[in-house]
Point group: C2
Chain length 214, copies 2
């Protein structure tokens, strides 16, 4: 840090501009098709400066993945306060999640679509972010089940599965909402609450759906 300086713009600011351009380019074209030329042009800087600041295309992509993952988890955490009932906490978390993915569609594409299979380093970043969100949701569902007391035997295994289902549904809906004109973050969050909470609510109250006998 600090080796290169201009009087007009601090390095940190210029770096964020390069990262903004990189996330946009990677998000819209994917890792392979995105070129460092495009990124430099979009950022309004020379290609050598991008290499000087952010090293290589791989490092640049890794930095993008880390920045976007951190921002998404922070947005969800900032949206939720402990204290209100579980359904309100879940609603607040979902609204924060869909608001963030709607406002950062290219960041969401980088995380959900492009980072998963481009090498173990990127996949590991995304897996860690996802695990943090799943743990948060697992905790929320476990708390709600204990508070409801109707189904004290809801096993940890089931809670983990419900959390995986909820996170998968949210990921899918975020991608769909970003690709579907006219769907707001609030509508996407409401759709998922209708889907998930009315379902989870019944489960908490001991009204589970019974599969037919084998």
């Amino acid at each position: 840090m600090g080796a290169v300086k201009t009087k007009r713009m601090p390095r940190a600011v210029r770096e964020q501009q390069m990262l903004d351009a990189a996330v946009r380019t990677f998000g819209q074209r994917g890792y392979t098709a995105a070129s460092m030329d495009d990124i430099a042009e979009l950022a309004g800087v020379s290609k050598p400066l991008v290499y000087l600041y952010l090293n290589s295309k791989d490092d640049l992509f890794a930095t993008c993945v880390r920045r976007e993952a951190t921002a998404l988890v922070a947005a969800v955490r900032a949206g939720v306060r402990t204290g209100p009932p579980a359904d309100r906490q879940l609603w607040d978390g979902l609204l924060a999640f869909f608001t963030h993915t709607a406002e950062h569609p290219d960041g969401w594409s980088v995380l959900h679509l492009h980072a998963r299979t481009h090498g173990e380093v990127f996949a590991a970043e995304v897996t860690a972010m996802r695990a943090e969100i799943v743990a948060f949701v697992t905790h929320l569902i476990g708390d709600a089940a204990r508070a409801a007391h109707h189904d004290p035997d809801l096993p940890d295994h089931d809670v983990a599965g419900l959390a995986e289902a909820l996170v998968g549904a949210a990921e899918s809906l975020a991608t769909w909402a970003n690709a579907t004109p006219g769907v707001t973050a609030r509508q996407a969050a409401a759709t998922l609450m209708n889907f998930a909470w009315a379902g989870l609510g019944d489960l908490m109250a001991g009204r589970a759906w019974s599969p037919p006998p084998v």
Copy 2:
């Protein structure tokens, strides 16, 4: 077809063995790390024969994606009969889905993890398969809503969102179930029915969860 023949084994059989080996290798290592040497060795054939039959690594991967996508959609379709109530149809479809992904974990990894970002051709195959399953689920939810008559105003937009949520939840749960020892296909399907149907059931009966005012 048919240019190369041996007396011991028809080409079609040998090709399937190569594809089995390829799906296993791609599924466990990913596209980039998988080598044609590994695939040939696992299939018990020479590497030139793999190239002769299946052309290139790209073509081989594309053939794997197409075969696994076709098999998954066929398995879900075969599991569902029209006629029973919507929840039974959904249960049958989910059970068929989770049974297939549990029995073909490497095929599922190829489709869900590796095919999405390795070039537009592969992504297009997976997108088409996913669209077919989403359309099937959308149809099912629309039918159920019309049959219930409690919420005749459930807009198409909402139905599409619910279908996306359900498919995303199923994808997430299939990946989780395959990575979690002791979770059977039946348990995964039951978890998703508890999550989704009890929720959808309430929605069909007009008992939607109401978000707090803005």
